[in-house]
């Protein structure tokens, strides 16, 4: 075990040493650390605002929905043979005279550290959440504990299921079907209740916040612990937390003592992970294992920098659904549900959707195709001005947002019978907001290089993007408040966003002319 601790300890020390050699980046990390501390202090002093805090039942429902989502996807994904390891671990640790259980613990610790780092970044939003959700004082610590436990337990349970599934062919399918069947059963009361009441939102909140969940193992236990953030830490929270701790420790001991030959699975999972990491670094999708390329009839006709644009469009056509992604369809489904479920003014529903999706766009770290272009030498050799190359590399991403925005707001807007001009301008805001994020990411790349910009992107998106969004959102809100003309307000926001995008383009263009900047 001491050799494994040696790797973790030295890696940490060397990473800190490397940071000390780059004072600029170190300052940024220090600022992030200070912001986190400030965030913790501010949230400790913030009292939940009565007029902002959501109904506690809605908060409970959000928690249960989140737990269901994490459990389903984490367990289903674990059956695909995910890995805690990198290829260096495979080559050095798997062949060394070390206990397989110790290696597993080492991998688990690394994985948890990565998750906790992401959580630390996201926790910057905590003061907002505290006001919005009406969390009690001290709830932050409970949520941190619950989140770590959720990630740890789902990972451990996933590994137990995976190792059990390996022993007989066909078990994976059975387990996966059982997981989905359980989720359908758990959610079944929602449509049943909706048929009776005709109110989807109320039925969903009523069911997901109901006390009946305490009879569902794991989901119910987690739900009770998370709900402690609004109800206070009582005997019930402690009892459910202890169930989860006992279950986690049991799973851990089972895995440690189990004579499971997991190296082969870890090897294939690690190879996939390495391919995914390379893919993400190059701005491509993470779905490397399932990616299939279709044969298409397509000729690149445009010349100069626009050949880059057409090359990307060709790649998109080969991968199936062109400019429409699963995310687009999910957002559309969310929009339609909101259209039917929210008892609000129609144009307001569309505005809320825009806000929510802009928020998602901010949190989800999107790897743009432009990053893939920067990893290839062609981008620097093509004889065209860097600004043109930058525009051509980012255009497919912007077009994708246009298609996505048209799909979401076009269809939802028609369903809600919103004026076409409002729909058009709201699509404009959606696309231009995406433009702001895209070109802001390029500036991050220019400032911090590939490795650190990837690490810091989540932080900057969460922290600074609010400021960026406010630049357009505040004037738009004022215009709407003064004139009651939504189209005019959205048009103003789209124009401001477009201006910001151009400004960022000019500031970040260096990465397309100088490989050393990227």
């Amino acid at each position: 075990m001491s050799s494994l601790i040696f790797i973790l300890r030295r890696s940490l020390i060397n990473n800190i040493k490397e940071l000390l050699k780059k004072p600029g980046i170190l300052i940024v990390y220090v600022i992030i650390g200070l912001l986190m501390i400030t965030s913790a202090i501010v949230s400790g002093r913030t009292e939940p605002a009565e007029h902002i805090a959501l109904d506690p039942n809605i908060v409970k429902a959000i928690f249960t929905g989140y737990i269901l989502f994490i459990c389903t996807f984490s367990l289903a994904a674990s059956l695909g043979g995910g890995s805690y390891f990198r290829m260096a671990d495979v080559n050095f640790l798997f062949t060394a005279p070390l206990n397989a259980g110790s290696i597993l613990i080492y991998g688990f610790v690394k994985q948890m550290a990565a998750n906790i780092l992401v959580m630390a970044f996201i926790s910057l939003q905590y003061p907002n959440w505290k006001r919005m959700f009406g969390f009690l004082n001290g709830a932050g610590w409970l949520l941190i504990f619950a989140y770590i436990l959720l990630i740890a337990f789902t990972s451990l349970l996933g590994m137990v299921l995976y190792s059990w599934a390996l022993r007989k062919p066909g078990r994976k399918k059975i387990i996966r079907s059982l997981i989905y069947a359980a989720i359908i059963l758990i959610l079944l009361p929602i449509p049943v209740q909706t048929i009776r009441t005709g109110d989807l939102l109320k039925s969903t909140v009523d069911w997901l916040s109901s006390g009946d969940f305490k009879y569902v193992p794991v989901i119910g236990w987690f739900s009770a612990v998370f709900q402690g953030a609004v109800t206070g830490i009582d005997r019930n929270v402690l009892l459910n937390a202890s169930y989860l701790l006992i279950a986690s420790v049991t799973a851990f001991i089972y895995l440690y003592r189990m004579d499971t030959d997991y190296f082969e699975d870890a090897l294939s999972g690690t190879e996939l992970k390495e391919a995914m990491l390379t893919s993400v670094r190059e701005g491509k999708t993470t779905a490397v294992s399932i990616r299939r390329y279709r044969k298409v009839n397509y000729r690149i006709r445009l010349e100069g920098s626009m050949a880059i644009f057409q090359k990307q469009m060709l790649e998109k056509r080969k991968t199936g659904i062109w400019l429409v992604s699963a995310r687009s369809l999910l957002f559309l489904a969310g929009g339609l549900i909101a259209a039917f479920a929210l008892p609000l003014e129609n144009v307001l529903i569309l505005t809320i959707l825009l806000g929510v999706y802009a928020y998602f766009m901010m949190i989800i770290t999107m790897a743009g195709p432009w990053e893939g272009e920067l990893s290839s030498h062609y981008i620097y050799l093509i004889p065209a001005p860097p600004l043109n190359k930058m525009f051509a590399s980012t255009l497919p991403g912007i077009l994708k947002l246009l298609v996505e925005g048209t799909l979401i707001f076009g269809i939802t807007g028609i369903v809600l019978k919103v004026h076409p001009l409002v729909i058009l301008t709201i699509i404009g805001v959606y696309v231009s907001t995406g433009g702001v994020f895209t070109y802001f990411d390029i500036i991050l790349r220019r400032l911090f290089g590939r490795m650190h910009s990837n690490n810091l992107r989540v932080f900057f998106r969460i922290f600074l993007s609010f400021v960026l969004l406010a630049v357009a959102a505040v004037p738009a809100s004022i215009i709407i408040a003064l004139t009651q003309n939504y189209a005019l307000g959205f048009l103003a926001a789209a124009i401001i966003n477009t201006f910001l995008s151009f400004l960022f383009m000019l500031l970040g263009v260096g990465v397309f002319s100088n490989p050393e900047l990227s």
Binding site: F6, R10, N15, N91, T95, A96, L98, F263
Partner: protein
């Protein structure tokens, strides 16, 4: 030293290794020669304990996946993968700790010198070129003074001086009584050093050659093409 008996390995429905058996003795250099996709890397990974398989593999009488066996063998993978945040020196320290090595400093300095790593001991894994990574991967594997050592395409990415040094190292390992198994598809790279060659084709050992049986310079190449169906 190394005993492989009736090893079968499937990847899904694909039969990658088809009932392979062979033994390698103390102080013997054996070559797994075969075209791409013949199953060379797969059998090496089976021996290294990275894959599940049918059959049995023993290293000095210990099952290959046992801790006892792992103390006795080393493996140099086809693609070197190092820890990004560990220095060259720390990689060696880690190996020394993991294998509980004592008094390894002198030998470490010697192999660093031979593979031009002496002036790069403070470099991080991620700062090394592909060739340097391969050199460090070789250094970590020989540091343990193994009884059995497996090399998967070891010359890939090495400069001519390092290739020369590596060939010398193979012979020194042999002298020290180590059983050496090298996988390659480049016939010229193993000229002059081998004792036995296993020519692999479609997951099987299609032919075995012993140094004492070979008379002409081109015999290995001729046999290789005759067995694998290619032409010179």
């Amino acid at each position: 030293m190394l005993k492989v008996s009736k090893v079968i390995k499937y990847y899904g429905k694909l039969l990658a290794v088809d009932e392979i058996s062979f033994e390698i003795n103390k102080g013997e250099i054996c070559i797994l020669l075969g075209p791409n996709g013949a199953g060379k890397s797969t059998i090496l990974k089976c021996i290294a304990g990275l894959l599940r398989y049918e059959g049995s593999i023993y290293i000095e009488g210990h099952p290959n996946k046992s801790i006892e066996a792992k103390r006795l063998f080393s493996y140099v993978p086809e693609t070197p993968a190092l820890y990004d945040a560990l220095t060259v020196e720390e990689h060696m320290q880690f190996i020394a700790k993991a294998y509980r090595l004592k008094d390894y400093e002198e030998y470490k300095s010697e192999i660093f010198e031979r593979f031009d790593l002496s002036d790069k001991t403070e470099k991080l894994g991620r700062e090394l070129s592909k060739g340097m990574q391969q050199k460090l991967s070789i250094c970590t594997s020989v540091l343990t003074r193994p009884s059995v050592i497996l090399f998967d395409e070891p010359m890939m990415g090495l400069d001519p001086k390092a290739i020369k040094e590596l060939k010398k190292l193979f012979l020194e390992l042999k002298e020290a009584g180590c059983a050496v198994l090298i996988s390659t598809h480049i016939i010229d790279s193993i000229k002059d050093i081998w004792d036995r060659i296993f020519i692999m084709h479609k997951g099987k050992i299609a032919s075995t050659m012993d140094r004492s049986e070979v008379t002409g310079d081109n015999e290995v190449e001729e046999r290789f093409f005759a067995v694998t169906g290619g032409t010179r």
